[in-house]
Amino acid sequence: MNRQTADHATLADKFNEDEPRVDWHDQTLWWVRAKRDKMAWSIPEWEQLRETASAIKLNALGNLHDYLVQFEQQAIQNGAIVHWAADAEEHNQIVTGILKKHGVRHLVKSKSMLTEECHLNPHLMANGIEVIDTDLGERIVQLAKEPPSHIVLPCIHKKKEEIGELFHEHLGTPAGNADPQFLTAAARQHLRKEFLQAKAAITGVNFAVAETGEMVVCTNEGNADMGAHLADVHIACMGIEKIIPQRKHLGVFLRLLARSATGQPITTYSSHFRQPRPGQELHIVLVDNGRSRQLGREDFRNSLKCIRCGACMNTCPVYRRSGGHSYHTAVAGPIGAILAPNLDMKDYADLPFASTLCGSCSNVCPVKIDIHQQLYKWRQVLVKEGYTTAAKTASMKAMSGVLSTPAVYRTAGKMGRWVMRAFPGMVNNRLNPWYKQREMPAPPKQSFSQWYEKNKKS
């Protein structure tokens, strides 16, 4: 697990040391949000489509047991081998076991946030197995030895010059060449070799259809297909919440996914894997890792509707100005902030507070998850469970005390204003985080209630 002591505020503070870079990050993601808006407006039935998608996912959650059993049956009938993993560790062991059985020391992997969540790569490395991420963005962060900072745009935090440097160092491209066209061509060449050599390929899963036992994987690059169709062994890893009831429901989700994610009408490839090709082994690993627990949390179970489009990150004014790594978890941004505390309340107690509760995330969500309301609710849960500081509790209790008794409030208010007027230095100092970059409001001579007392007869 990604355990670290620095919280979101500290990491965001560091990210903000380079303001022009924050501006660049913000504007790049805002541009993606704007593309999403344009695509949404091209479909008059957009809101109805979101409503429908949300209702299908609700139905899937309500019948998840039966759908999982149905999916498993169909998949086995299709010739796949189905595995069940209770947690990240079991998932990693299953995958390693399959690879070891086939003597695979070297494999390709297309994007799978689940394997990020399970920290599969370090586990494989520790077992002497080399894994090559083939999504361009993921390959870039892999070369940089960093985790992805965004679930759809893994290296959105990196400038092309930095990528040029990395490619120069690892792939031997000429120093100083940072042209995206050139770098992409170099990556294509480099990764083609990997695809042609790999005996096994891991892919994620965007949707798994209970009715047919098939899995749909969406990419723009074609890396999932290049991997899966050339390898002898295809391992598809998925969270149990990826199940949808019927094939026709794919129409709803494929219309929403890419439009929400990147403002494209659909991804270049929407591949429907049902049977292994002759001579190939197809493994499906169904992973729980806390999902069944989240399913039992009434206030938070809707988070399992997520289709990982990343729209909530692109629109989030905090994410855009703090960067994905400040969330110190595989899935960053607003959706990550409501998923992560389910995995570990202590480690991720800071995340639900990394929000102004502006609500933009819930509005862009294609499956209508009430993200900002869940952030509010997680705050209540985390405080009740004790994942807060004694100082904060003390100050909240003091505030509550003042605000609960009008007479105390009036005295405190008067004192507060008097103090601010008489000794601006007492509050206007660097220890006051408000004052660091903002002026305090100019204290008036009287409060509204005092004015009202004097003037109400008018």
Partner: protein, 251 residues
């Protein structure tokens, strides 16, 4: 129609002129307005920090103050939303429900209940309208840019009735300013950056005054503008809608 005037704590303490403008405006429009003394706070700062369980006394107090009014009106979308979503009291749930159903943010009260169609106000100025999130997305005071739905804006509808107001366009019509309650100090860096960006959008488009329905957002942006010596002022929308009366009172 008896209106109970709800003045949030930071307006009471730091921006009394907003309370005065709200009161005068409602009176001018024919409402019988009372300000129940003994108000403190709606409890939102505690609740948004995860301490909703510490707001019981604030809730009881709020109910005691406002249970008897036909309408409760406040010049803050954020505080009104908090009451609408979270005001409960097992000992007085009927009264709490009454309040949740009858509480209005000022501009929606003007457009939806009083159905104001014209105002005798004058404010010759280039104005930038900040859409505060809780009012906009929580109370639906204006259409949200994320949704594929017909545009409307209650605050804008009212500002357009004020003679001389020239509303400036913005690059990002409804992005959050970064105030966010205690977020403004716990996430100081991001909060300030969001505020700076929001302010810059208004300044870039020539706003002389930034207005909005929430003083909390305006206080945050004012703090940044004053630190920058930007010369752009912030005013609550009630102050602009009430502008004429002010001038008469001063002359």
């Amino acid at each position: 129609m008896k209106v109970g005037l709800f003045i949030p704590c930071y307006i009471d303490q730091f921006y009394p002129q907003v309370g005065i403008a709200t009161l005068q405006l409602l009176q001018k429009l024919g409402c019988e307005v009372e300000f129940p003394q003994g108000q403190t706070c709606c409890g939102q700062p505690m609740a948004n920090s995860g301490y909703e369980h510490l707001t019981h006394q604030c809730n009881s107090l709020f109910i005691k103050n406002f249970a008897d009014y036909d309408y409760i009106v406040g010049p803050s979308g954020s505080c009104v939303l908090h009451i609408k979503d979270h005001l409960h009291d097992p000992a007085a749930e009927t009264a709490a429900t009454h309040i949740r159903e009858r509480i209005y943010e000022l501009t929606e009260f003007l457009t939806d209940v009083l159905k104001v169609e014209k105002l005798t106000a004058r404010f010759p100025c280039k104005v930038g309208l900040h859409q505060s999130c809780h009012g906009q997305r929580g109370l639906a005071l204006a259409q949200m840019s994320e949704l594929v739905a017909a545009p409307f804006s209650k605050p804008e509808q009212l500002l357009r009735m004020v003679e001389g107001v020239e509303l400036v366009p913005l690059d990002r019509q409804d992005e959050c300013c970064g105030f966010g309650g205690t977020f403004c100090v716990t996430e100081e860096a991001v909060s300030v950056k969001m505020g700076k960006d929001r302010v810059a959008d208004h300044v870039k488009h020539g706003a002389e005054v930034i207005t909005g329905t929430d003083v909390s957002c305006l206080m945050h942006m004012e703090g940044i503008l004053r630190r920058q010596h930007a010369g752009v002022k912030v005013m609550h929308i009630a102050e602009i809608l009430n502008q004429n009366i002010h001038e008469q009172a001063n002359s």
